[in-house]
Every structure is written in C-alpha cells, then in structure tokens.
C-alpha cells in the first residue's frame, strides 16, 4: 500500500507536470522535499535527546510503570500483545496525553520512545507489529482538545464564535477513534491469517 501511494504520487506528479509543460518544477520540488526532510530530522535531534533523557529518569524512578499500571484495563484491551506493565504502555499513554493537550513538541518524542519500546517486543524485525499498527491508528485519529492554530485563523478572519468548532471537532475525533479501533481489530484478524 505504501509502495503504491508513493509511486502514484511521483509518477502522476511528473506526468501532470509534463502535460502542463512545466516539467522543470519536478526537479526543484524533489530537492525541496529532500531538504525539508533532513531539516525536520535534524531539528528532532534536540527534542528527542531531551525527552529520552527525561523518560529514562521516569523509567528508572518507576513512574512509567506506575502510569502503565493506572491505565492497564484500557491498554490491555487495546494492546493484548504487549505484556502488562511494560514500559511501552507508559510511553504510549504519555504520547496520547501530549497529543490531546496539544503539546506537539513533547508528543513526537514520546511517540518515538513508545515505538522503540514496541520494537523491542517485535524482536527488531523490519515489519510492523500489531501493537504498532494499533498505536499509530490511535495516534493519528486522536487529536488535541483545543486546536489553537485553526481557532487563531478563524479569529483572524473575523469569526463571531471562533471556538464553536471545538465541540464538532471532538465529536468527529471520537467517532473516527471508535472506527479506528474496530477496523484495527478486523484488519489484525485478516492479516494474522496471512502470516508475517
């Protein structure tokens, strides 16, 4: 699937650019994309190092395990393949909480830490585990309680009630999270039959 989407974006993009007679934008776009990618990765070094340090402290202090224990019922249902009280559970909860509170700077490093923990359970394979798929589905479908950026834009263009979209946003999010959890279960069954 990811191979298909990737190929379609490039092939379709180049064909359209060619048909429109501005094929030269392709080279520049490719280089711009690569440049952005490296910039993002490099800027991640700082926040990931910082949060990895803090999370290591939290782990040694037993706080990650305590957090995992607190949310055990929900997490055992969502991640049956992760042993109870595993540090992965704690970092998943930290990531989702940071997401919900809109702390983007903390959410990404927490998420990468959770992935590291899940990869330990995956025994270093290059194929995603069930728990990783579930985690990413929750991560991308769960969302901030207060979308500050879009509220700011609504205010800028003279909205009489800029926060009126908060309720609908939370409802739409709740619905898509429910869909994600159900579809995840179905896909997990289908794909486990195919083997890995």
């Amino acid at each position: 699937m990811v191979n298909f989407v990737w190929l379609v974006m490039i092939v379709f993009g180049i064909l359209v650019a060619g048909a429109k007679g501005n094929v030269d934008v392709v080279t520049k776009a490719a280089l711009d994309g690569a440049n952005d990618a490296v910039k993002i990765s490099i800027s991640l070094i700082a926040i990931i190092s910082f949060w990895l340090g803090i999370m290591k402290l939290a782990e040694e202090a037993g706080l990650v395990r305590a957090l995992a224990w607190l949310v055990r019922p929900a997490m055992r249902f969502l991640f049956p393949s992760v042993p109870k009280d595993h540090p992965a559970m704690g970092s998943i909860v930290m990531n989702l909480s940071a997401n919900i509170l809109g702390l983007g700077n903390a959410a990404t490093p927490m998420g990468l830490i959770a992935m590291r923990e899940l990869q330990k359970l995956n025994r270093g394979r290059d194929s995603a585990s069930d728990a990783m798929c579930t985690f990413l589905a929750l991560n991308t479908s769960c969302v901030t309680l207060i979308p500050t950026t879009i509220i700011g834009i609504r205010l800028l263009y003279g909205s009489t009630d800029p926060t009126s979209i908060v309720g609908p946003t939370i409802m739409a999010t709740a619905f898509s999270m429910a869909v994600a959890i159900i579809v995840d279960r179905i896909l997990r069954l289908i794909y486990s039959e195919k083997g890995r």
Partner: protein
C-alpha cells in the same frame, strides 16, 4: 472548560520536568547520569528517520508542485459531490493526511474566501482540527525504528481519516444546519 484545558496544557510540561527528577532522586536514582544515558540515543533515533522522510517528502513535494492535485480534484469532485462532500473542501481532504502545512494553507484560504462562520468555513475548520498528517506520522514513527513493511497501518490510517471526514460533514450539518 476551555480555560481549564488551556491552563493544564501550559502546566503539563513544567510539572513533568519538576516531578520526574524529584521522584527519581527520592527513589535513589543518579539523576544526572541517568538523564545523559537516556539522551544518548537521541542523535541516532533522529538521524535514522532521514531516509524515510526524504522518500516520503520528495514524493509529496512533487505531487504538490506539479499541479497533480488539481487534476485529481477535477476527476473526483463529481463523485464526491454525489455523496455529499462539497468540492471546495476536496483539496483539503486530499492534502490533510500528506502535509499539515499545505492543508492548513488550504483551510485558511477557504476560511478567508467563504468566511469562518459559513458552512464551508466551519466544515474545513473541523476537518483541520480532527485529522492528523497520517503519512508523515507513519513515515517518521516507523522510520525511527527501521520498519519498512507497514502492513495494514496505511489502510487503517486512511480509513480513520475518511471516517473523520464523513463525521465532520455530518456533525457540522446537524449542528449548524445545511446552509450555515
């Protein structure tokens, strides 16, 4: 309610930074050494994402710059109009999982053109708020641990995005009325 959440967001990180080292110290952890131990993996984790992000962002960048999206919108809008998705928000729906910045640009353009309190303005605001940059997140998260086979996570992510879209349209219609 909003004030409480906003205040909670402001305090969350400072509180974590206060509590974690304090509790660690009380439990006899060598705080400075442990922090450095943990932070050591930061560089390799971040650098590991480079090839994955380069691959994905190059494809997205070509797709955006070439005008391929306009073609896709022209092809898809009759179908989507039929199922009740206004064609004006289609570029946003396509861009949202690919690029957060581009989607935000499209959203602010729609808000500017149609007004923030119009049906389209409210719809695109809800779509922007309730969706995430699925492809970017998958690439970054899997890239950091060297996962190349995404299995069903792409289909799962896109299903969630589509259901957000459907839910946004339905909810905004019900709450604010058809015309807006």
């Amino acid at each position: 309610m909003f004030e409480v959440i906003a205040e909670l967001s402001r305090w969350a990180i400072p509180l974590v930074l206060l509590m974690v080292p304090l509790v660690a110290m009380l439990r006899g952890v060598k705080v400075y050494e442990t922090f450095v131990d943990g932070a050591e993996a930061g560089f390799s984790t971040a650098v590991k994402t480079i090839p994955y992000l380069v691959a994905m962002l190059v494809a997205i960048s070509i797709f955006r710059a070439s005008g391929a999206m306009e073609v896709l919108v022209a092809v898809l809008s009759p179908v989507l109009n039929f199922i009740g998705l206004p064609a004006e928000v289609l570029p946003h729906a396509i861009m949202r999982p690919l690029s957060g910045g581009a989607a935000l640009g499209i959203a602010s353009d729609i808000i500017k053109t149609y007004g923030p309190d119009s049906f389209l303005g409210r719809l695109v605001s809800t779509m922007q708020g309730s969706c995430d940059t699925t492809f970017y997140v998958l690439t970054l998260y899997f890239g950091s641990i060297g996962i190349k086979k995404y299995r069903y996570s792409v289909i799962l992510g896109l299903t969630a995005d589509l259901s957000t879209l459907a839910a946004s349209i339905f909810i905004v219609r019900v709450i604010f009325g058809m015309g807006g």
